[in-house]
């Protein structure tokens, strides 16, 4: 409840009154709900108490670290969302009005909402990392760190689809993983005899992997903290941010910090971020438009670098 208490804009006494109110309704609500057929109230007046409840549910959803299992009121509102379609529509409308996108409402993830692109809740790159606004290389590295963490957390498509899957990532693991991919790209470019050194004065045309490869992995600093501009520093910032978003949970300090994923992160990557990035790539004409069928095989692009003759189950299936 401490999280709820610090929520801005709701004075404690209002909350107490609301909680009492909710408690009172809990006893009276079930018969009332069954009396009113769902959908009947759509065009009519909305009871202020219902609107307050719907807003409460969305407010719970805005606290991503709060688990339904830990809060009786949250759990009760979730049940109501599941059982009462009118209430569900009302809550969704409240969320939409605030500029939020509802990803899922369930016991495991709670009211999983994410910020719409122009919402006040959205995170802007400029607020996230100051350097990123001026320097497109830094901007790219910060974005890539988030993408790479997701790729490590859900290495195969079915991991992303399987609701029970819990991914594990470590800061150093993500860094070495991306470096390895970069090295493969470098080897491939060398095999083809390409000169990947960019033309002077045209940094925008430098291959993205080179930007990552030439940034140092770590560096000594005066106060023994991570060097903010190094790749582990950037990845460390990304995972710390994801922890604050309720997407990752820290499990140990090994390998620069080890984390496991939450249900919310899976939803976020599956339904929001990866499709947005995919759309962007498609518009760039990078990924061939798929036929929608799930495939264990990586797309043809990646096939070349993932050792085509490996003969592993992944490829023979």
């Amino acid at each position: 409840m401490t999280d709820a208490d610090t929520e801005p804009g709701v004075a404690p006494e209002e909350r107490a009154a609301e909680a009492e109110h909710a408690g009172a309704r809990e006893r009276t609500e079930p018969p009332a709900a069954s009396e009113r057929p769902p959908g009947e109230r759509g065009g009519g007046a909305v009871a202020p108490a219902d609107a307050a409840d719907a807003a409460r549910l969305v407010a719970f959803g805005l606290q991503p670290k709060l688990l339904p299992a830990r809060d009786a009121e949250y759990a009760q509102l979730l049940r109501r969302h599941r059982d009462d379609p009118a209430f569900a529509r009302l809550s969704d409308a409240v969320a939409a009005g605030l500029g939020l996108v509802v990803l899922e409402v369930s016991d495991r993830a709670g009211m999983a909402v994410t910020a719409g692109e122009d919402s006040v809740f959205a995170v802007r790159m400029g607020d996230y990392a100051r350097r990123a606004t001026a320097d497109s290389a830094d901007r790219f590295l910060h974005g890539l760190a988030h993408l790479a963490v997701a790729a490590m957390a859900f290495p195969r498509p079915q991991d992303l689809a399987d609701d029970g899957y819990i991914g594990r990532v470590s800061v150093h693991g993500v860094d070495t993983f991306v470096r390895q991919v970069c090295r493969k790209l470098e080897e491939r470019a060398t095999e083809r005899g390409e000169n990947t050194d960019p033309a002077s004065g045209a940094p925008q045309l430098e291959a993205a992997w080179r930007v990552y490869a030439r940034r140092s992995a770590t560096g000594a600093t005066k106060d023994a903290r991570r060097l903010a501009g190094s790749t582990t520093g950037i990845i460390g910032k990304a995972v710390a941010f994801l922890v604050d978003s309720g997407f990752l949970q820290r499990t140990s300090d090994d390998a620069g910090g080890t984390y496991r994923t939450t249900a919310r992160y899976q939803l976020q990557v599956r339904d929001s971020s990866s499709s947005a990035a995919l759309t962007e790539l498609l518009s760039l004409g990078v990924v061939p438009v798929g036929d929608g069928r799930p495939s264990l095989l990586p797309p043809e692009d990646a096939d070349a670098e993932l050792a085509p003759d490996a003969g592993l189950p992944f490829f023979s299936q």
């Binding site: 805005l62 993408l147 992303l160 090295r183 925008q204 430098e206």
Partner: protein, 511 residues
């Protein structure tokens, strides 16, 4: 310092041929030149050190910075292990004797400053990439002249276990160091071994040492290649070809290790014989050093072998973990294959668009802070909560004063030290010292006798190691001590001066 801290401009002068119609030299013709230009650029930071030492506050002309830098690269390469790299402080400490030898009259603080300056410049601390950039020109396919940026590092910092930062030399640095390493590792090693054997047979040990050291660099590089492959396997079995390439490589490497082990043991026997039979002291010492180097080679091979044996079980465990996980009913987006892998080859311009989209939709939400003035005032005027969580008050500890039971007082020790502070060229008899002591304090002769007896077999080795400048000694020349209270030998007590600096230099040159 800007990113282009050490920009080196290498522009090839191209004599325009008389016949304009003929196509300009294509990328194929230019490739060798570009490669050599890059190799040349790698040496630039070293030259640059000597050029820029004038900018340092102070007189640093006496130091050969490029030499210190090459020594630093040597040290880091030799101290790179499988898991970590070389420790920053250790490298600085090992550089010191060489720096000190270049300017003996300067202070240790300055030597250390120079060592750190060189190491930091090799890392290029201060630039965001901690790397170097050189500009060179090539002709592209259309025959147009293009200036290109070549980015490289000499020493890079890598994360180690326990959160430390370690140093590793890059491939570029090893190439600068050993030269012409752009060849097959295996064959180069064989060549080096053969060369070593020939050299030993001819008794040319100085050259043999050089060859052995080169063999060791190659061994380290070979291990590094293998370490990368194993690491990749641990992350993703699909990333490595485990049907042919890796098993072949492991078999080859195991054969290689067995072969080298036999070979180096034979060399070891030869060198030992050379060491024992050699008459000349210089030969003997070099042979002894060579023994150490070959022993180190053998140690590295053994280490490599144990890693090779672990590779198979590691692959099977990882395959089990990754392949036999139950398949899910639905299949989501392949984050790696469909997003990460296609993004990386893109030019920065378009890659940023994809990563931005992922970031915007992938970071979740942040609730903006809405501060009410009322809340703020309440927060500011609230008295701090009583700190109950600190627990009960600590009881005042009941301390018992321990009696001072020292046999001699501090003043007596001071007086004795003063008496024993003898000039190096004038040792004295113990009897004379005792007479002096008795005049000062009746109890002082007792302390003096104890100190003199202690100095009878002084710990010379320890004193050297701790860098002591002088050492008290006592020698028995057979004269009996004639004294009412004490008996035994009338020792000669004196002070010996130690050449600590010379000793330290000797020690580090022959580890």
């Amino acid at each position: 310092m800007s990113v282009r801290a050490h920009t080196v401009s290498i522009v090839t002068e191209q004599h325009v041929p008389a016949i304009r119609e003929s196509p300009a030299p294509g990328p194929a013709a230019d490739e060798g030149l570009a490669r050599r230009l890059r190799a040349l650029a790698c040496t630039a930071p070293l030259h640059d050190l000597d050029a820029r030492k004038a900018n340092l506050a102070g007189e640093y002309g006496a130091y050969a910075m490029a030499e210190v830098a090459l020594a630093a690269i040597d040290l880091v390469t030799l101290h790179m292990d499988f898991d970590t790299g070389a420790d920053h402080e250790e490298i600085v400490a090992r550089l010191l004797p060489r720096v000190a030898a270049q300017a003996r009259e300067r202070t240790t603080t300055e030597h250390e400053r120079v060592a750190r300056w060189v190491l930091e410049n090799l890392l290029n601390v201060g630039s965001v990439d901690r790397g170097f950039r050189a500009v060179y020109g090539t002709f592209d396919i259309d025959g147009a002249y293009v200036r290109r940026d070549y980015d490289f590092k000499l020493i890079e910092e890598v994360p180690g276990p326990g959160g430390g930062v370690y140093l590793r030399t890059t491939d570029e640095a090893v190439n600068v160091l050993v030269g012409a390493l752009d060849t097959d590792v295996t064959s180069a090693q064989i060549a080096a071994e053969v060369k070593l054997e020939v050299l030993i047979n001819r008794g040319r040990l100085a050259d043999a040492q050089l060859a052995a050291e080169q063999a060791r660099y190659r061994t380290v590089q070979y291990a590094e290649t293998l370490r990368r492959t194993l690491e990749a396997t641990r992350r993703d079995v699909r990333a490595v070809d485990w049907l042919d390439t890796v098993p072949d490589m492991i078999t080859e490497a195991l054969d290689h290790v067995a072969d080298r082990y036999r070979h180096e043991n034979a060399i070891l026997t030869n060198i030992r014989r050379a060491r024992d039979e050699s008459e000349e002291a210089g030969h003997r010492r070099r042979a002894a050093e060579l023994v150490d180097i070959v022993k180190d080679c053998i140690r590295r091979h053994t280490q490599l072998q144990s890693r090779l044996l672990e590779a198979g079980p590691l692959f099977r465990a990882e395959q089990d973990r990754q392949a036999f996980a139950p398949a899910a009913a639905r299949v989501g987006v392949d984050v790696f294959g469909q997003l990460l892998a296609p993004v990386l080859p893109q030019p920065l311009e378009s890659a940023v668009r994809a990563t931005d989209a992922f970031f915007t939709h992938g970071t979740g939400l942040r609730t903006p802070n809405a501060v009410r003035l009322g809340d703020l005032i309440e927060l500011l005027v609230t008295p701090p909560a009583p700190r109950e969580h600190l627990g009960a008050e600590m009881p005042e500890p009941d301390l018992v004063a321990t009696p001072d039971d020292s046999r001699f007082s501090a003043e007596q020790f001071e007086a004795a030290t003063e008496l024993l502070d003898l000039p190096a060229d004038a040792p004295r008899r113990l009897s004379g010292l005792l007479a002096d002591a008795a005049r000062r304090d009746p109890d002082l002769p007792h302390l003096l006798v104890l100190l003199a007896a202690h100095a009878a077999s002084p710990p010379v080795g320890t004193a050297y190691r701790q860098g002591e400048q002088r050492l008290l000694f006592a020698v028995d020349d057979g004269t009996e001590l004639d004294h009412p209270d004490f008996g035994g030998a009338d020792l000669i007590v004196g002070t010996a001066l130690l050449d600590a600096a010379g000793m330290a230099a000797d020690r580090t040159e022959a580890p």
